[in-house]
Amino acid sequence: MLRYILLRLLLLVPVMLAVSLLVFVLLHLGSTDPALDYLRLSHIPPTDAAVAEVRQALGLDLPLYQQYWIWLCKALQLDFGISYLTGRPVLDDLLYYLPATLQLGGLALACTLLFAVPLGLLAARWQGRWPDHAVRAVTFIGVSMPNFWLAFLLIALFSLWLGWLPALGRGSPGQLVMPVLAIALMSMSINARLLRASLLEASGQRHVTYARARGLPERRVWRGHILRNAWLPLVTATGMHVGELIGGALVIETIFAWPGVGRFAVSAVLNRDFPVMQCFTLLLTGLLMLCNLLVDICYAWLDPRSRLQGVDA
């Protein structure tokens, strides 16, 4: 098992390298020149001389492979360069903003599991009766709701009309409620529907019939047999949803003025701040790969078949 984890961690390096090269090339072949953005934000007229000077100062005039080589050497010492716009080391800014996003993403993930599991269970337990229909209706709405529109509805309802919650910013717990809900509703609904489907499928299995035949009480049949098997698809889905939550954070942070890494990345992308974009994609890739590894480990721990038969990576 340990050997498998080490192998996956080693796999992380080549993938990150490939992603960084791909992103580097795509960025520099992109449409516009970051020097222009720098001049614009500095209120300096973009004459040819000024553009040339800034390109030289930012090291953009070197040939592409040389730029990448310089970046790579420095990156290996965790120095991801200086942001074109803020003049601060890129990694410090990203790590400064990361906790806010992790707080939002983490809470959204917790909220997803907190609501998806009971809802899924409720729907599967009373299949066909009113709780099942209610849950299916709610989750169906959740799946079809655009998160940015939901965010505005929440703002209009809770801070504009009822005035209970502050509409934006970070700090007091009240400011957490709406952004988390706006991000989590979609993945919560998806997971609830998934859990319901996998519960129904599991409860139809023959080993459940056999368990009941052995006289086990219904409660133990559900906990010991149905649930134990229904967790598996949920684990893989949750792994995928970490990515979706970060995607959601991108949009939601701009609406709620949440000082997270998502909003920072959006502004960096709009202002062509290459070092920040480069570092952000690497950070994101690393985070997602680790999440996938975590999911696989959970899966192997929960499902002996994959553990003992050798996991198909």
């Binding site: 222009l36 300096i44 973009p46 553009v51 934006l168 000082p259 709009l270």
Partner: protein
């Protein structure tokens, strides 16, 4: 334009009352709370992005300060003398001025700052004075001499600008801003706020406020909400702090508001070198075809006065009494017909010799205001039989299109005081500008550039005014620009702050002149 359902309005008032009651107003050293989209930055006296100009204007001071009347007044230099040939400027420095770390401000410190600018002239060369400045001398403690390569009349104007020709303590460590200004920056928390307190050694009158807290709020809607809920006391500036509609809504709700004098011109640059706009008649028809007043009243809520000329009359050398292009669609149609742009019955777009009257209007996709204006222009000019295709781009692409002249028409505002008119006009000579690219198609473009060079070097004010008249009149008659409105700074404040004034330039906010109001 009162338009809101009953419950909504009462809810808002309720929200306002609740929050303003609990807003703390500590009496010790009152704090003025302002907001800005981003942090102030390391605040290097000569620094560009990410340093924010409003903060540099608070901490660093110029030799001479630009006034609302468009002239300069003595500031760090109590007096100055210009040699007859206009190439030597001798300044007598104000006595008893000290930096916020207590060290004295003298000729040596001033020379050190200006030498630093000359040393990095590659970066500062965009400012004409930096290329014309030969060397700086400090004969004694209170005398500073600037020697120019050739006479350059806007020297004093460019010395007044926020950067790079202001003065920081030479020995200050980078990131530790030490200036002679009324404020010093004591704390900066990324993404949250920047805190400024009074400079204890300030040579001028101590500001009424003990502290200015500038919160980081990137989004205009969030900024408006912060004002409503008492999280900030003041919204002021001309950089789109809040949208026009929000300004009107808050003003109608009773927030004290003010509009500044014209500071810059919101205008479209028309490409004289490409497509249908090569034809003067087309450019004149565009100027006549846009009902600017209706647009200003509805899109800009009448907040910005209509602009008839490229520079507002209150700017130096700009009061020329040029005949404005009145809104006269009939005249525009006649001019187009006369110029051969026929509207074939059945077609909706005029054409001449097979070429359709189509112009591409490029605008900033992320600016709601430019998007609305672009859509209205498209609608209005369509009535004249002109096909305006809209092209939304983000900031980076807008600048590159301006540089390469890749536009039919493009939003290109003037730089505003104190750059207008001299710096803006001077920049027209260099490729890589929307203006250069727009004027490229004019036959007399070369003559215009020579005239600009001559005006900058002229020492005789009368002759200078003559050159400006020729330049501005030519640009006006050739209809290279469509001036829309004069950009004004807006100001909205909670009733906890008084004596709110506007800075004389687009960038500075005179916090030192503001006082906490007495009633509270």
């Amino acid at each position: 334009m009162k338009q809101s359902s009953g419950t909504l309005k009462s809810a808002l008032w309720g929200l306002l009352l609740v929050t303003s009651l609990c807003a703390h107003a500590d009496r010790a050293a009152p704090t003025l709370v302002y907001s800005w989209p981003v942090n102030a930055g390391p605040l290097d006296p000569r620094g560009y992005a990410p340093d924010q100009m409003y903060a540099q204007a608070m901490v660093y001071e110029p030799l001479v300060r630009y006034t609302a009347a468009g002239t300069v007044e003595p500031w760090l230099a109590s007096s100055w003398h210009v040699s007859d040939d206009g190439k030597t400027y001798t300044f007598t420095l104000r006595d008893g001025v000290r930096f916020s770390d207590g060290t004295p401000f003298d000729a040596a410190a001033a020379k050190a700052n200006l030498d630093a600018v000359l040393a990095n002239s590659k970066r500062h060369r965009w400012l004409e004075l930096v290329t014309t400045l030969e060397r700086v001398e400090a004969p004694d403690r209170r005398t500073l001499q600037l020697f120019l390569k050739h006479p350059y009349y806007p020297t004093l104007m460019e010395l007044a600008q926020v950067r790079p020709l202001r003065f920081g303590a030479p020995l200050a460590k980078p990131g530790e801003p030490v200036g002679t200004g009324p404020w010093q920056r004591v704390e900066s928390r990324l993404g949250e706020f920047d805190r400024f307190t009074r400079n204890p050694y300030y040579w001028g009158a101590q500001p009424a406020y003990g502290e200015v807290l500038v919160k980081v709020i990137p989004d205009p809607n969030s900024r408006a909400l912060a004002l409503q809920t008492g999280q900030i006391d003041l919204i002021q500036g001309a950089a789109g702090e809040i949208t026009a509609s929000t300004f009107v809504r808050l003003r109608d709700q009773g927030f004290a508001s003010a509009l500044s004098a014209p500071l810059a011109t919101r205008s479209l640059a028309i490409n004289t070198g490409r497509g249908a706009t090569r034809d003067l008649a087309v450019r004149r028809a565009i100027n006549h075809g846009l009902n600017k007043q209706a647009i200003i009243d509805n899109i800009l809520y009448g907040l910005e006065p209509r602009a008839d000329t490229l520079f507002a009359p209150n700017l130096p050398y700009a009061d020329l009494g040029l005949a404005p292009y009145a809104y006269d669609p009939a005249l525009a149609a006649r001019e187009l017909d006369a110029a051969g742009w026929q509207l074939v019955p059945g077609a909706s777009v005029r054409s001449k010799g097979g070429e359709p009257l189509a112009v591409e209007l490029v605008f900033l996709g992320t600016s709601a205001l430019q998007k609305s204006l672009a859509e209205v222009f498209q609608g209005e000019l369509a009535k004249l039989g002109m096909q305006i295709s809209l092209r939304a781009v983000e900031e980076g692409a807008l600048v590159s299109r301006q540089r390469e002249g890749d536009f039919g028409m493009i939003f290109a505002d003037t730089w505003g005081a104190p750059y207008d008119p001299h710096s803006f006009v001077s920049s027209m000579r260099y490729p890589g500008h929307a203006d250069y690219m727009a004027q490229r198609g004019l036959a007399i473009k070369d003559q215009l550039d020579q005239r600009i060079t001559k005006v900058l070097a002229s020492t005789d004010p009368q002759q200078r005014a003559e050159q400006y008249r020729f330049i501005l009149t030519t640009l006006h008659e050739q209809a290279v620009y469509v001036p829309i409105s004069y950009l004004t700074a807006i100001s909205l404040r909670r009733d906890v702050v008084d004596h709110v004034q506007f800075g004389s330039t687009l960038f500075d906010v005179p916090f030192e002149a503001m006082t906490p109001s007495q009633e509270h």
